[in-house]
Amino acid sequence: MEELFRKSLFLPEQASSIAKDVDHLHYAIITAALVMAALIFGFAAYCLIRFRRRSETDVTRKVQGTLGWELLFVGVPLTTFLVWFYIGYHDFIRMQTPPPGAMDVYVVGKQWMWKFTYPEGPNSIGVLRVPVGKPVRLLLTSRDVIHSFYVPAFRIKQDAIPGAYTQTWFEVTKPGSYRVMCAEYCGLKHSEMWAEVVALSEADWDAWMKEQREGRVALRDASPSGPEREEPGIPARRVARYDAQEPHGEVMYGERGTLPERGERVAAERGCLRCHTVDGTAHIGPTWLDLYGRQERLTNGETVVADEAYLTESMMKPQDRLVEGYEPVMPSYQGQLEAAEVAALLEYIKTLRSARLENTRSEGPVYEPSGGK
């Protein structure tokens, strides 16, 4: 029955933990729509036959709606729609809330390819390898225009927007490779902006990761932020054969080190550490130790949780939401930091954890020139 429904609606296979629930609602709504349509057209057809015009001088009765009928007309569909909405919204919240233990992968969309970066190091264009049965959270951004990351078999989609991070997550239920497409029109080769998710069984995944960690150095790490020497169109064009069975991604070779290691380097190079400390000492800007997930009090009285979105915002538009007690002295890094550098910084900040478990509050600033006058 389930298969029959899925096949007759042409829905793709259900490869993620959410897909089944989404599909069940599909079936319910489509079936109800067909039943409703049949009833209304049945009634209309009855009227067309029963009340067809018999002579030019026919006179009709005046039939006027009564309140009861009108209430019925409103009440029945409204209730149905709200029930659907409730179920759908319930699933939607689930789709929007990555589970705490999820594995993070950074995704950068770019005309016309998808790049993936893992905190552990490896990077690739066009192929996202993930383990089966483990939630994976994607942190998406774009280098140019808006793209949209779409995996039909997982029933997920999320826009990748320049200058901001958005997130989505999925958990693959069976090994295989699944098509990724770009769903937001992004220019000439929008329809060729394909990639694939390769879901590996746990053993295969471990083996792959191990190879990435221990294999030849050249194979190990890469950075999507390195200058792109490869012809940008090529990976996308290779993907455009639409053959999900054949791997077509490319591992990139570039900078070394895991994302946090790179982040440390970026922080030093870009001068972040002139104002921020990483050991909890108070300085011109808030310390990065235990920053990720901390509740920050803002000058406007609100509090925010320092998550990826807020941290990115603080780099790009530092004056928008200032942490209480600090002067608005931080410059904007808009256009200065590559998307992958931001990812590296975020991962670096995430690793800076003290042993303390409680939510720490940052202390006040110290306005003393570091380096001496």
């Binding site: 009108e70 909405f85 929008h190």
Partner: protein
């Protein structure tokens, strides 16, 4: 319907009292302006249709078929721009609204006849600028002009943005004109509860036009400024916000879909009543639901942005509010069908289009509910499912109502009858063609075919072929209509005063009407579409 009754057409009509070219181009007669708009929007439909066929032919095979990706991307943009801004928005309000609204109210003309003429020329100027932009280089942004793509696209977007901006003024002026007309020019006896439902829908539409169009104008100017001056409002690398554009755009464009569909609903109401010889089942509910849609329609724009990173809570609110729009639409559908009950139904061509309309509106509406269900929209957003949804509800509805109105008012406008058999054949072709074109697109969307794709996976091909076949049928149907309507202008049978025995108020005037609509002020002594009293012949 006595064929010899042609003799009771007025001798002097708006068509023949002056016949110079200048008398048309400089006319202040709302009927002539309506006819000019009709010609204009039909040209737009033709142009948009040609682009559409080009798209469908390209999609016959998975890879390149007859054009390159750049041409394809331009084609779908031009198709969307032409159909939405040049055809669907002005089609019913500006063409039929102009023609029949004052007559229905018993007025001699609209409140501001000169402004009315200006609105036509503004439409013409905007359209020409848009078409010029298309021919010159042709934007490839889609009719939605999403930033930042529209600000960095290598094609020429600016003339098209400005063209659409200018057309917006025409919309606003027409809206203001109709609002004023309804308030000030009703003849004696035309109480608020007697106003025909077509007029109510035009009134509701006008309110949306006046309130929402300025926002569109602003956002189009901002994009133009961004392109020409590099302002950076939507550019994140200068502190701008690319998603802001989407909020502003949909704040107009969501209500805009009701600008298109409400007048269509008005036409349908008139036609249902006329051909079933019945009063509408729930006059107040139908009128009220018009304003319900117009009002709630302003608060649903966020349902285009469920996956744009807006807050989960926001998505929930927009989802629920969208459901309310569906309810108001459902009320109308129930009322139309209930009107058939106990009537004296004559299945003439306009009523056939009404059935097509109800069918498309119902599936369009139900799939609207489906996409407003947040979790499902994540899968469907920006796929062919959405394409099919809005073609069903928006294009299907506007086209069906446009054709229904065209046939229903043809004798009123030109004093000729269209040939019944040919029109029946054409109507069947069009309704069937429409379903064959867009039904496969729902399934394509389910499979995961994103919209605006030049190439697609092989397994999707046969559905695309089916869709193209449907589109060809549609094109054939339109060709047929064009031929027999032009034929009937010259050789058609002369229409009697009230060709359908309708009790709509517009039939109080002659067919075609005399220059100032009435020779004697009409008196409205009965409700509109009241068929319970036998009415003697009237000649005004």
């Amino acid at each position: 319907m006595n064929p010899a009754a042609g003799s009771n057409q007025p001798a002097v009509t708006y068509l023949n009292h002056e016949t110079t070219v200048a008398s048309w181009l400089l006319t202040r007669d709302h009927k002539r302006i309506g006819v000019m708009f009709l010609v204009g929007v039909i040209f737009a439909l033709l142009l948009g249709g040609i682009f559409a066929m080009a798209l469908r032919i390209e999609l016959l095979t998975p890879g390149p078929t007859v054009m390159g990706p750049m041409t394809y991307n331009r084609m779908f943009t031009l198709h969307g721009v032409t159909m939405v801004w040049l055809f669907m928005i002005p089609a019913i309000p500006s063409a039929f609204g102009n023609f029949v609204l004052p007559i229905m109210l018993g007025a001699k003309d609209v409140a501001f006849p000169r402004l009315n003429l200006a609105s036509f020329y503004i439409y013409l100027a905007g359209s020409m600028l848009t078409v010029f932009g298309m021919l010159w280089s042709g934007a490839d942004t889609g009719w939605t002009f999403y930033t930042p793509y529209s600000t960095v696209s290598p094609t020429t977007v600016t003339p098209i943005l400005l063209g659409v901006f200018i057309i917006g003024f025409s919309t606003i002026i027409t809206g203001l004109n109709f609002i004023t007309t309804v308030h000030t020019l009703r003849a004696p006896g035309m109480h608020w509860t007697r106003i025909p439902l077509f007029v109510w829908t035009i009134y509701g539409t006008s309110v949306i036009q006046v309130v929402a169009t300025p926002v569109l104008g602003m956002v189009l100017l901002l994009v133009t400024a961004e392109r020409v001056l590099g302002m950076g409002i939507f550019d994140p690398s200068r502190g701008g916000d690319p998603v802001l554009f989407q909020h502003m755009f949909w704040f107009y464009s969501h209500p805009a879909v009701y600008i298109m569909v409400l007048p269509a609903m008005g036409v349908i109401t008139e036609v249902v009543c006329a051909y079933s010889r019945k009063n509408i089942f729930g006059y107040k509910m139908v009128a009220a639901s018009t304003f319900g849609i117009a009002f709630v329609g302003f608060f649903t724009w966020g349902h285009h942005m469920f996956v744009s990173g807006q807050s989960t809570f926001g998505s929930g609110i927009f989802g629920v509010l969208s459901m309310l729009v569906a309810i108001f639409t459902a009320i109308k559908i129930f009322n139309w069908v209930a009107t058939l009950y106990g009537g004296s139904i004559d299945l003439k061509v306009p009523l056939l289009y009404v059935l097509g309309f109800i069918f498309l509106l119902m599936f369009g509406g139900m799939t609207g509910v489906a996409v407003a269900t947040t979790s499902l929209d994540v899968h469907w957003h920006d796929t062919y499912f959405v394409v099919a949804h809005f073609h069903y509800i928006m294009v299907g509805a506007v086209l069906m109502a446009f054709l229904a109105g065209l046939h229903y008012w043809w004798p009123k406008m030109f004093g000729k009858l269209y040939p019944e058999r040919w029109s029946f054949l054409a109507a069947m072709t069009i309704i069937f063609g429409f379903i064959v074109t867009f039904l496969p697109q729902f399934l394509l969307g389910n499979m995961g075919m994103p919209r605006r794709y030049y190439e697609y996976p092989r397994e999707m091909q046969w559905l695309h072929v089916l869709s193209t076949a449907g589109a060809s049928l549609l094109a054939f149907g339109f060709g047929l209509i064009a031929i027999y309507l032009l034929w009937s202008l010259r050789y058609g049978e002369e229409a009697p005063m009230n060709a359908w025995g309708s009790r709509g108020y517009e039939w109080y005037s002659g067919s075609p009407p005399v220059p100032h609509n009435f020779t004697e002020a009409p008196r409205f002594e009965r409700e509109v579409h009241d068929y319970t009293v036998v009415e003697g012949p009237r000649v005004y």
